[in-house]
Amino acid sequence: MKRTSYKLEDRTLIVGLGSELDHHNVSIINKELSKYLQMYIIKNIIFDFNDVTFMDSSGIGLVMGGYKQAVLYGGSVMLSNISERVDRIFAFSGVYRFVSKVEI
């Protein structure tokens, strides 16, 4: 199973999400994410879904939690490499009112 990776580029944190976005893994990612946000000056967050093969509603919580953090710093959250299924889930739950898709 693929783990999550973090890469800082300028003031944008790129989170390469692991394969399974459920409550268990999202709790781990949330802890790691808040460490990065404390340690570095980060404005924007890009969640890269390239390796994601499973996502339940915990993924919505992750993205919206990131959005709440980013707006505090005047930044934004972007999503890349979204599969058709994940796209449908995000559209259905209104996430695109707050975050947008980006190509990386």
Partner: protein
């Protein structure tokens, strides 16, 4: 055809993945599409997560109960906990309603279960526990 299985496991978040993979494997005898398998995995993950996060409030020493039944082309999945229970089930089912917003829960769990399955029934009593019963028909191919 009729086939049944049941399982009990600890209320640890590691078991969210275990539970959805087991049910997906059991469902393969209905020859589902990849999309139907994803639907089943998602709803099992939602209900098991709820038992662990809400029912047992993340205490890991309790048991979650899972039962699956295939009758002809329909799979019925039941997930049960003896946790804190839900006071108002209709309210809990409302999209975006969550009692744990500080934990970054989205309040979309029941909404997904309703959208991805043909039937959803929730029985719950405060301080006694919660049973979630879902059904989905998998068309023969």
């Amino acid at each position: 055809m009729k086939n049944q299985m049941s399982l009990e496991f600890d209320s640890r978040s590691e078991n969210e993945a275990f539970a959805r993979v087991v049910v997906a494997a059991f469902a393969t005898q209905l020859n589902p599409t990849l999309e139907e398998i994803d639907d089943i995995k998602t709803v099992v993950s939602e209900a098991v997560t709820n038992a662990i996060v809400h029912g047992y409030e993340q205490k890991e020493e309790y048991k979650v109960f899972l039962q699956c039944e295939i009758t002809e082309q329909t799979i019925q999945i039941t997930i049960m906990d003896y946790g804190v229970g839900i006071e108002d089930v209709e309210k809990a089912k409302t999209p975006m309603y969550t009692t744990k917003p500080y934990m970054n829960r989205s309040g979309m769990g029941f909404t997904f279960m309703e959208a991805l399955m043909d039937e959803l029934e929730v029985y719950s009593k405060k301080d006694e526990g919660t049973t979630v019963k879902m059904k989905k028909r998998i068309e023969a191919k």
